[in-house]
């Protein structure tokens, strides 16, 4: 079992999957802020994948983490060609040199034919059109787990979980690039930089957080689907969504790590019958959501439906008001007295 971290508070994030439009603004905001080094071209601390789908890295589930009885599961380090996907480089020089040459102009194209990428199967989804086709977007980042597999995996004690906020950090001065952390993380949210020969991961935008500013992925989200705050703040959005209303659930709780990123599960339009009429059955199979978020998804979906119904009847719903993020300031509760969004 992982060394128990002495965390006094835990920062957390909730993402409402009903509002994610897959625009990748979070991905770009994170990438531009933290991952522009040569060796991190392939690495996305934040990515948005289409589900059902293979994700990034491809088929990442099931490598590492723990069993239901707490036993360590051996993971693997994904490769670039088939799992992460290599960062693309393009034939800019060729195009520039030959522009204006006759009728035959070279196309701008990747130097090497790509085989996979962070967003390769976007919008593919599953199910037969038009009766039951479905997909939704799943933004993913480090879960800053309560029992981090990466921390447990590092023989050099190069990974720590901060006591004051539970953020999991790599000490790159101590890291020797063994990549046991990459193997052990079942979410595959630790990355290796082959140029610097150290591992890297989401730092929950620590420098921003310490100034009372939400992480870039949350702050830049056009859909306002992200909520940030402390798990124990009963006046904040996280406690309300996770514990109060119970509609925000961890991804793959069966991995046994206590992830601190939570998701409001997606609901979709109903399936259609053979005549194209709504059936009342969910288009996104609930069994699939159970695979992702566990059995509590039934209760969460029920609560969401009840609260939506209240709204439709014109009644008040604190949950719906919170989720719609009409007052964006309520989405971020980082420091009492901090009004993050003006």
């Amino acid at each position: 079992m992982a060394a128990e971290a002495t965390t006094t508070r835990q920062i957390a994030m909730v993402l409402d999957l009903n509002k994610c439009i897959g625009c990748q603004t979070c991905t770009v905001a994170c990438k531009k802020l933290w991952n522009t080094d040569t060796g991190s071209g392939y690495a996305y601390w934040n990515n948005v994948e289409t589900l059902p789908g293979a994700g990034y890295p491809r088929n990442w589930t099931g490598s590492g983490g723990r069993t239901a009885t707490g036993e360590v599961k051996t993971g693997k380090v994904p490769n670039l060609d088939d799992e992460y996907g290599r960062a693309w480089s393009f034939n800019h020089e060729e195009v520039r040199a030959r522009s204006g040459e006759g009728a035959s102009k070279p196309w701008l194209r990747p130097d090497k034919p790509p085989r996979w990428g962070a967003n390769w199967d976007e919008d593919r989804g599953a199910g037969d059109y038009p009766a039951e086709n479905h997909y939704f977007y799943l933004p993913r980042l480090c879960n800053h787990c309560t029992h981090p597999a990466c921390l447990d995996a590092c023989p050099r004690h190069a990974i720590e979980k901060r006591g004051e906020d539970g953020i999991v950090l790599v000490d790159q001065d101590r890291c020797h690039g063994y990549r046991f952390c990459v193997e052990a993380c079942p979410y595959k949210k630790v990355y290796f930089d082959p140029q610097r020969q150290v591992t890297t991961k989401c730092i929950f935008c620590l420098p921003r957080l310490e100034e009372g500013v939400a992480p870039a992925c949350a702050r830049q989200c056009p859909g306002r689907l992200r909520f940030v705050g402390y798990l124990d703040d009963e006046d904040g959005p996280i406690w309300k969504l996770v514990h109060g209303f119970g509609v925000a659930l961890p991804l793959h709780p069966e991995f046994g790590l206590g992830p601190n990123v939570y998701y409001v599960p997606p609901t979709g339009p109903p399936r259609l019958d053979e005549k194209g009429r709504p059936t009342g059955q969910p288009r996104i199979p609930t069994s699939y959501l159970v695979e992702l978020f566990g059995e509590r998804v039934h209760e969460a979906l029920g609560t969401l439906e009840r609260e939506r119904a209240k709204r439709r009847r014109g009644e008040a719903s604190e949950l719906m008001d919170l989720l719609i993020a009409y007052d964006w300031n309520r989405s971020f509760a980082l420091d009492s007295g901090t009004r993050e969004v003006l």
Binding site: A3, V72, Y84, R86, R156, H157, V182, A184
Partner: protein, 182 residues
């Protein structure tokens, strides 16, 4: 001294943290079962030659994230009773040099127990030359003024096969300190 040295898989059960000891519990066979070792002193210079079979040398990571490079290290105890198995212990340090196939110069290394290894710029004049030929790595360390070996006259060796994903505690090691002369 000059001779063949049987190597063993470093026991993963001792690895700090909870992952390696369980995930690699079955890694009991050394990826490099045998090495040849030659150590001689020439004035203040220790010359240590190591060679071992390596069918698939890995000289550099390149851009790859799932590749591990070949490496080797020689260690000596700073105090006579520094334990070999755990690379020293608090207050009982070991030190030496580490060659990696992707580096021009060796690291200087020092440890006081598993997980405590510190890499640094090797002392002045410490060098490592390596050649892969006919399926074998041959690495020659030149380690002038290595006082720990002067004093103790014993060393331990470790070999990492990159193609076998050896790194950190996943390595082949000599089964104890090796006497290198009187």
């Amino acid at each position: 001294m000059r001779g063949k040295v049987s190597l063993m898989a470093a026991p993963t059960g001792l690895s700090p943290g909870g992952y390696v000891s369980q995930a690699y519990a079955d890694r009991s066979a050394p990826r490099t079962p045998l090495a040849e070792l030659e150590a001689e002193k020439d004035g203040v210079l220790w010359r240590v030659r190591l060679s071992w079979a390596c069918a698939d040398p890995v000289r550099a990571l390149g851009d790859e994230v799932d590749r591990f490079v070949d490496a080797a290290a020689v260690l000596a105890p700073i105090v006579p009773d520094a334990p070999w198995m755990t690379m020293g212990a608090p207050g009982k340090a070991v030190e030496g040099a580490m060659w990696r196939a992707d580096r021009e110069r060796p690291f200087g290394v020092r440890a006081e127990g598993l997980g405590s290894l510190e890499r640094s710029v090797a002392p002045k004049g410490w060098e490592a030359r390596a050649e892969w030929k006919s399926g074998r790595w041959q690495v020659e360390f030149e380690l002038p003024g290595w006082k720990a070996l002067d004093a103790g006259r014993q060393l331990a060796i470790a070999v990492w096969q990159g193609a076998e994903a050896d790194r950190g505690g996943l390595k082949s090691v000599s089964a104890g300190w090796i006497r290198v002369g009187t």
